[in-house]
Amino acid sequence: MKTKTATSMNRRFFFQVTLGAGGALVLEAQGPRRGAAPKILPTAFIRIEPSGIVTLTGKNPEMGQGIKTALPMILADELDVDWKMVRVVQGDLDEVKFGSQSAGGSRSTPNNWDLMRRVGAAGRQMLVQAAADTMGVSPLECTTELGKVYHKASGKSVSYGEIAAKAAALPPPDLATVKPKDRKDYKLIGKSVATIDLDKMVAGKPIYSIDFKLPGMLFAVFEKCPVFNGKVVKANLDEIRALPGVKHVFQVEGDGNVASLASGVAILAEKWWYANEARKKLKIEWAEGPNAAHSSAGYDAKAAELFAQKPAFTIRKDGDPEAALAKAAKVVEGKYTFPFISHAQLEPGNCAAKFENGKMEIWAPSQTPGRGLQMAAQALGMPAADITIHQLRTGGGFGRRLANDYLVEAAYLAKQLPGVPVKLLWTREDDFRHDFYRPGGYQRMRGGVDANGKIVAWHDHFVSFGEGQNFVSSSNIAPTEFPAQFLDNLAIEATLIPTGVPTGPLRAPRSNSHAWVIHSFLDELAHAAGKDPVEFRLELLGEARKVGTGFGAYDAGRMRAVLLKAAEVSGWGKRTLPKGRGLGVGFHYSHSGYFAEVAEVSVDGQKRVKVHKVWAVGDVGSDIIHPSSARNQVEGAIVDGMSEMMNQEITIEKGRTVQSNYHQHQAVRMAQAPPEIEVHFVKSNNSPTGLGEPPLPPLLPAVANAIFAACGHRVRTLPMAKEGFRWA
């Protein structure tokens, strides 16, 4: 993932102004050339028609996180136009033109906040200049409001639409010198507007990737080896070819990389259902390969064995944790286990592609279309310059679409059939069985408190997945993971188990498991210390100050503020709850966001759990761009976190995924969701950051700690169903 800062990008951006159709003003920001790469055509961010209609480009992939609304809102606010006049179009992939176009790591907002403000402000500056010229006044005496330029002294005004052509002829300002608005002048940022595409969603318009069709399109299914990285030896291709509706059948050798092009059999038909029906008749002989020996039971047994041994390597060591444990007044130990889980986004993997005259055109629901383009180029042996990608709205990402396997598969099939548009669509079973799973893990935690109830030692033996000291994707723990940097005697050590199971980022990768382990164990220590869990955490955080630098920088003040607010709004320590009901707390810093959450939970005699209410408090900087959407992300993260706790687990037998559909990997349903979720944002003097991920991690320990408060049971295994719990 690119993490280039918006500032460094801005300095190298410049404007090009062209006259669009009908005399439209077209403002185009053009990025730097990469090396000696040929210059790609610039693209408009802003287009104003003479009628006053403003068309803005949404540059990043939209998967439900609301970025197709949020970034254009910033542009529109700086441009000073009426949101009712704004149309948003999804930009095609062109990272020279738009800068980075990925959706991951909650980076879309921080990476584009400054850029969008400057592009919008530059547009407004040009319109003001053109208006001033038209009215024969100084631009310094002009003001703007909702698509009009006013000269108050003379009472004159012109609309943006009237002067669009004139503005287009002006020399473009340098983005680095443009002055964005003062915060106090924001009209859209911080207000809830009509979400882009919301009207189309409720009307059932065909706006999703799965809905995209072209005339003459063939529809494909792709059967891959159930054992990861297995290969086709032979299959009854001729028999399948003769089935109703089937047009083509291909045996795909693959390129040995399941993240690119797996081996399998593809069936293409006039309509997708015929292809999928034909698939039921497939008889494939597979060479399953070495992964067939892998199983979840094998991993569990290995982890138990490894906990009896010394850790293989050290990730961080401060002071002498063993000596400190030996001297501690109380020592606590807990072994925590969390499972592999699947993304389970609702729209199954799909992608459309067409290969014609040596050029590949792809319509993709990718979170990383730029990477997808490079992968397709490599897998197909095509120059990247011959591939174009159109971005389509997609039904959920959660990190699944950071991978581009569906994209490469569709492009590969299209390449076999020049001139024929191809649409690949996976089944739900394909999605569950061929994911890049959130890796499971095992943590043996040991900690000690002194006679005053202060933490004096922390030791984490993390048994995770990988080879030697190389973690597989999304399975590592950072050397700066809290409470590192806050304790004098702390060690994080690890031992890795080799795995053939593909892994990858799931919403709040690493944090989605670490926050649960760390804050559950902190709770164990707080109880051992005889301290209130919030007080105990405030003591650990210490004074408001910045700790660490770079990636590990941690602002204890920001975390204190959200924790204190969460305690305040939840009535922490001030309410008497009935027997069987308790409050739990957790906090976590990830993806530049600080979140603390409190859950109120009851547990009955049959271990049925009800989450009555969750209070979530976050600090993601100075401005909440689109408050309704922001709260929606937080509410959703809370429900998602609950799903991860109770019933979601991917298990492996003989190298293949056991679970095939939602009944075996259950998400929270309406009746189980908390009836109340209260969201607060603490504004701080920091540039705005993303919200897709940081609200999720604290939910798990908040609920787990509330379960302990309610019934005295410490949850150390996820999913909790394995400890006998279920939702009330």
Binding site: D199, V202, G204, G396, F398, R428, H663, M670
Partner: protein
């Protein structure tokens, strides 16, 4: 063999195998793509449509089973997307990815036909089969209450085609 049915008030005839699920008839034969494919097994509710006014899972409904029946999809819930549920969904900014929402709305519409003033429990029960992977349940519930209020005559337009027929 041609199978005849009524979709959104219009008679249609499709020449497909009788075991083709209604979902794929709608999406690929009739180009009504608002009904979504999520699980293919009646587990997520994204494909919910009405069969003679009752919510059914089109992904597990063979088209031959609905021959001669009236099918309503999200596209036909109202002529101009002003069914009270569609209005309330916008008022509460319900969706995130939005992929499940057509199914949620269709299930809710079937509920409101039977129950003009549902309780939270009634809603939870009726919507239990509709998964929202983004977790927008609280907003869905609020929007259903709001739509019910509108339909009981407390504001909002939305006498849609389907209500007109009913």
């Amino acid at each position: 063999m041609a199978i005849r049915l009524n979709v959104n008030g219009k008679p249609v005839s499709v020449d497909v195998p009788g075991n083709m699920p209604l979902l794929w008839v709608l999406r690929d034969e009739l180009e009504q793509c608002g009904t979504k494919f999520g699980c293919g097994a009646g587990l997520c509710g994204a494909c919910t449509v009405h069969q003679n006014g009752v919510a059914v899972r089109s992904c597990v409904t063979p088209v031959q089973a609905v021959a001669g029946k009236n099918i309503t999809t999200i596209e036909g819930l109202s002529p101009d997307a002003t069914h009270p549920l569609q209005l309330a969904w916008q008022e509460f900014d319900v969706p995130q990815c939005g992929y499940c929402q057509a199914g949620q709305i269709m299930t809710a519409a079937a509920l409101l036909k039977k129950n003009a003033n549902p309780t939270d429990e009634d809603i939870d029960k009726a919507l239990d089969g509709n998964l929202c992977r983004c977790g927008t349940y609280l907003r869905i519930r609020k929007a259903i209450h709001r739509a019910a209020e509108m339909m009981r005559g407390n504001g909002g337009s939305g006498a849609g085609a389907e209500q007109g027929k009913a």
